[in-house]
Each structure stands twice: as structure tokens, then as C-alpha cells.
Symmetry: C2
Subunit: 350 residues, 2 copies
């Protein structure tokens, strides 16, 4: 029997990697720093997911269940890897409580950190109660509370969703695009329009990046079926006239200043590198890329590789990623790890 594979992090990528390995008969040790499995979709309370429109607590919750129930997967929550030594086929990870875990390979599925909107203060978050984030709107849906203005509990009549908050913004050191916020925002806009049929929802954008088949299902459907409006604009600031929020900026198509009142403004927050990446880089001996995500191997022949042999990566740890691609990458990294530990076992048997 080959040594277990260590999977670090239990969001969609980690759950997918662990399950795939276990289904292939491979023992897995899964380490999660939070007190429960599921990653961002569960811990942050996402609602209906792109693109399956399943509820996060069912879709990702189901992935949690099958991992928790699998006899070949041992789970450690509320802990982190403090030390990681050895070489491919023979690693030792030391957990916070001193436990040593032997593994043949490791897969980092350590995800991202949501951009904190207080770092974009001119857009009103932290100043005005009714400026919220996409994550907060997800929570309004997933909790069943419904979409309400936090200041007074009223249902908003006019909602603005501002894209690229913490993305494509060099002023605040975040040059990258967070890949999925355009599509998630179109999804949220449609959900709001369904829940509040009298509301008007506007999306402020630089470029609409509903790539691939999302174009029909989100970009066009949000406009044609749900009457969501798109405004290409540079936002200057979000203020208040005492009664309503005011979004000020320039409509970049008509080159005119615009000042439009809203009841609620939603920041489509981007994906930052996981705040733990510096620590993870030091402990696992893996390089980071220039923004602070974990550096992926650049060659197609070793898609899931990092700079350290035997340490693989999947999902948003390596850069902004969608849930479905994270799941596919989790399985992809599982295959790479499996191949490594099987080769090791074969060699040992010879």
C-alpha cells in the first residue's frame, strides 16, 4: 500500500481531489484550518452556484458528506501544517498539535481570500450600511432572509452592482482579473430581479467577461429575460444624498459624467491570494508568482505541479478560479499525485 496523499484545504478543489483519490483506492489525509469542511462556498454562505445553479449547501455540502463518509479519508479540522519535510514518495507533515503525517505526495488546495472592500474606501463600503458585497448578498439568499437594505430592512428598489472591486485595479495593487465575478454578478442580478420583481438592477462594468457558454446563460439571459441593465463606466465614488446612495462616475460609452441614485450598492469583490500564502510558501517550499498566488508549473506535461516535486496544486490557490474548474483541477492533481505514489510503490516493489 502506498503512503497517503496529503490534501491541504477542503474547498471545492480539495474535496474533489480527496474524493477522487479515495475512489481510486488511495488513502488520503485531509487538513483543514477552519472548523468545518467546504471552503468559501460553505464558510461564506454562497447561495446558488454558477453554472449549475445548485445551492452551495447542497452541491458543496454533498461533496463534504461523501468525503466525511469515505473510509479512506482521514480528516483533521481546526489545524494547519506547521512543518513539511522529505521528498516525493516520503514526506512528513507536522500538524499544529504535533501529529506527524506521512505522505507520498501533497496537494495544496488552499484557495483564495475575498478582497476586503474597505480597501476601496471611495466606493462607500464601511461608510454606508447599504453598500454591501456580493458575498453578503449571497448570504441574504442562502440564509433565507431575502435581499434587504441593512440600514432599515427595506427591500431595495434600485440596486447597482459594481464590477472589478479589488480586481483590474492597479491603484490598489490588484492588476489581475478575478475571472468569475462578471458571471456571478449577472447571476446575482437575476436572483434579485426574481426575488424583487419591482426592482431595477444595474451592473457597472469595464469589460463584461461572461466567457464561453456563460455569454448566453448569463449575459444575454440577464438582459433579455430579467431586464438587468449594463452600464460601461468608470466609477469615481459612492456617496449619499442623505436618503439614497449616489454612484458617481463617467459613462465611458457616451463620455458623460453620471450620478445615479440607488437603494443598495453591491461590490463584486475579487479574489486575493490567500492571506496565508507567504506562510504556505515557506512551509511547503513552493514559489509564489508575482501577485502572491502559488506558482503553477508552466508546462502542459505537469499541469498540476508547483516548483517543488511531489507537491501539487489545484483551484484558486494558483489564481482566480471558478468552482467547476477547481473541481476539475482537484481531480487532475489527484491523478498526478496518484501516478507519483503508484510509481513509488512500483519501484519499491521491484
Amino acid at each position: 500500500m502506498s503512503k497517503p496523499v496529503l490534501v491541504v484545504g477542503s474547498g471545492p478543489a480539495g474535496l474533489s481531489a480527496a474524493h477522487a483519490l479515495a475512489e481510486a483506492g488511495q488513502e488520503v489525509v485531509l487538513v483543514e484550518k477552519e472548523d468545518k469542511l467546504g471552503g468559501a462556498p460553505i464558510l461564506s454562505g454562497y447561495a446558488r452556484l454558477v453554472p449549475s445553479r445548485e445551492w452551495a449547501k447542497e452541491a458543496i455540502g454533498g461533496m463534504v458528506d461523501r468525503v466525511e463518509q469515505h473510509p479512506l479519508i482521514t480528516t483533521h479540522v481546526n489545524t494547519t501544517v506547521e512543518k513539511f519535510d522529505g521528498e516525493p514518495g516520503a514526506f512528513t507533515a507536522t500538524l499544529k498539535d504535533g501529529t506527524d503525517v506521512k505522505s507520498g505526495a501533497a496537494i495544496l488546495c488552499t484557495g483564495f481570500t475575498h478582497f476586503d472592500s474597505v480597501n476601496k474606501p471611495e466606493w462607500g463600503f464601511g461608510t454606508y450600511e447599504d453598500v454591501v458585497t456580493t458575498t453578503q448578498v449571497e448570504q441574504m439568499f442562502s440564509s433565507g432572509a431575502g435581499v434587504k437594505c441593512p440600514s432599515d430592512g427595506r427591500e431595495p428598489e434600485r440596486v447597482a452592482i459594481l464590477l472589478c472591486v479589488g480586481s483590474r485595479d492597479r491603484q490598489i495593487g490588484r492588476e489581475w482579473c478575478s475571472k468569475i465575478c462578471c458571471t456571478v454578478s449577472a447571476n446575482i442580478a437575476m436572483e434579485i430581479r426574481e426575488a424583487l420583481p419591482n426592482s431595477k438592477v444595474y451592473i457597472y462594468y469595464m469589460d463584461i467577461r461572461t466567457f464561453g457558454l456563460y455569454e448566453g446563460a448569463y449575459y444575454w439571459e440577464s438582459q433579455e429575460e430579467h431586464k438587468v441593465k449594463y452600464i460601461k463606466a468608470r466609477i469615481a465614488e459612492v456617496t449619499s444624498d442623505g436618503k439614497r446612495l449616489i454612484v458617481k462616475g463617467e459613462d465611458t460609452l457616451v463620455k458623460r459624467p453620471i450620478m445615479i441614485p440607488f437603494d443598495m450598492v453591491v461590490h463584486a469583490v475579487g479574489m486575493d491570494p490567500n492571506v496565508d500564502n507567504m506562510t504556505l510558501s515557506a512551509i511547503f517550499g513552493v514559489d509564489l508568482e508575482k501577485y502572491g498566488f502559488i506558482q503553477k508549473a508552466s508546462a502542459y506535461a505537469q499541469m498540476s505541479g508547483t516548483s517543488r516535486p511531489g507537491v501539487f496544486i489545484a483551484g484558486a490557490a494558483a489564481g482566480p478560479e471558478t468552482i467547476d474548474d477547481s473541481i476539475a483541477q482537484g481531480q487532475s492533481a489527484a491523478m498526478a499525485a496518484l501516478s507519483l505514489v503508484n510509481t513509488g510503490t512500483k519501484q519499491a516493489a521491484e
Copy 2:
């Protein structure tokens, strides 16, 4: 020993799926309709790939080599599956020459068809020799011939790349976005600027969709390091003044008609559903989605599924896809197929 897994198509997804399965000890039968393996990157002669910047003939060629050399993979080229019967764990595929192939599961990696630019006649392809496609420019690089105007062999001084040719275009029944053309075009623009330092390269776009980390490596790098210019425009037509090509349209940012002369115009052609999809749908009994791509299962728990149990899917067969995601999906589908055939074997042994 479980029955082999049938993999149909040998582009990046199929090569990846076949190799992953074989590395996990699973027998594979790979069927390719063309006379050699490699799919679009090899058959269409792609040059340097996004995002690894490896040469296609090395990166994908290397994947071909390891598949051809693997003792657990049997390859049939120049043939197709004509009949596919049975159920999960016990399928029989009949090839064109009458050979029956038994398999426990099948993975469709049947890819896409490049949009044919003659279907967008007002943009000059087929009328003017110096209107070419991104695929043709890739071939100019990969063949070593260099970028030359087909009409007279001169090196172009002014090059326009038109995005969304056969994508996001309802007039010609192609509503979807082809996901990777923006980034591929930025890549090609940089390659042209490197090969011809005196050239000027313009990219005409609706939205720039260099999502995720492509934003820095392609969108910004092409502008800042390589002086590629981006023009947000609606193209009306491509004509000629007898000496040069003229791109006519409207600059949608300044709302002004523009007529700009070029030596070469490049169509960034999109991804159509594989022209064989109707046939594949009938033979394999899998549903197509509304545009004609093969319908994926919509639930995260069965990411690689189709409408038919035991028949999985990976890559651009299910919609426009990048090479790296196709590779990851190939491995993901391999994991799903492996799990199925192993379960079948376990049950049979019990």
C-alpha cells in the same frame, strides 16, 4: 482486470484522459478519426500556446509521444465509432472497419470545429488574400515561414486583429463567446511585434476577456511591453483601396466612424460545435445543448457526465475551452471513468 475505457478523440483532452487512465493502470482504447494524434494544436499547426508559451509541436507532441508509447493504450487512427451499445461497465463500440471494442466506460473528447470565416463575408476573408485567420498566422510561425502577406510575400507593416469572428454574433447564429480568442490574439499580437519590430498591431474588440491571470500576462504586457493598440469598435466591413485593406466601423468609445488602412487583417476565429456532433449524439446517445455542443451534466457531483450514464466528456466538445482546462478536464473525466469501471469490477468480484 476491468474492461478498457474508450477515449474518442486525441486532442489535449483525449491525450490527457488516456494518459491519466493508463498511468493509473487502466487499459485504454483511443479512437481518432484523423490519421494522427494531437487534435487541433497539431493538425492545425498551432505555434506557441497560451499560457505556457511552449511550442504546440513540443508540448502537445510530447503528450502524443507518451500516449503512443504507453503499453496500456491501444490506438486506432483513421477510424470512427459507428455504433455504441450496452450499459455502464459493458459497452460495445463498433468501429468503421467492423472491429468491436468492449469498454466499461467512454470519454468523448471530440473537440470543436474552427469557425469558417467565409461565413462572415463582409469582413473580407475569401475576397482579399491578405485577410487571414489566427490559425493561419499560427501556421506562419510554426512552419518557420514567418508572417508575410499572402498576396505578395511582403512583411506587413500594419496588422489588424478582429476579435469575435464567429463568436458573440447573433446575425450568424453564434451567440456564445469562444473564451480564449482574446488571449490568443494578444499572444499572437506580441509574437508579431517580436518578429516584426517595425510593425504596428491593432486589436479590434467588443470586450477584452483576458480573464484571471491572463490580464497581466497578456492584456497589460501586450500593451506595455509590445505596444499593441486596442480599439473598442463595431466592425462594419473590410474592403480594399486597391493597395491596402481598409477596416471600416465605428469606434464605440468615441462614437465616430473609423476607416483605417492595414496590410494584413487577421480574423480571430471562434470555436463552433464539432461538425460531427449530430452524428456523435446519435451514435453515443448523448444530448446536445442548444448551440450544438455536447450537453454536460449540470451537477458538481458529476462534472464530467453527459446525459448517458457511463459516457463522460472533456474539453471543447462541451463548449469553447482552453487547452489547459481541457487537459484538466481530461484527467477529471479519467477519474470519473476509473471510478465507474473499478466499482463495476469490485461488484463483479463480490
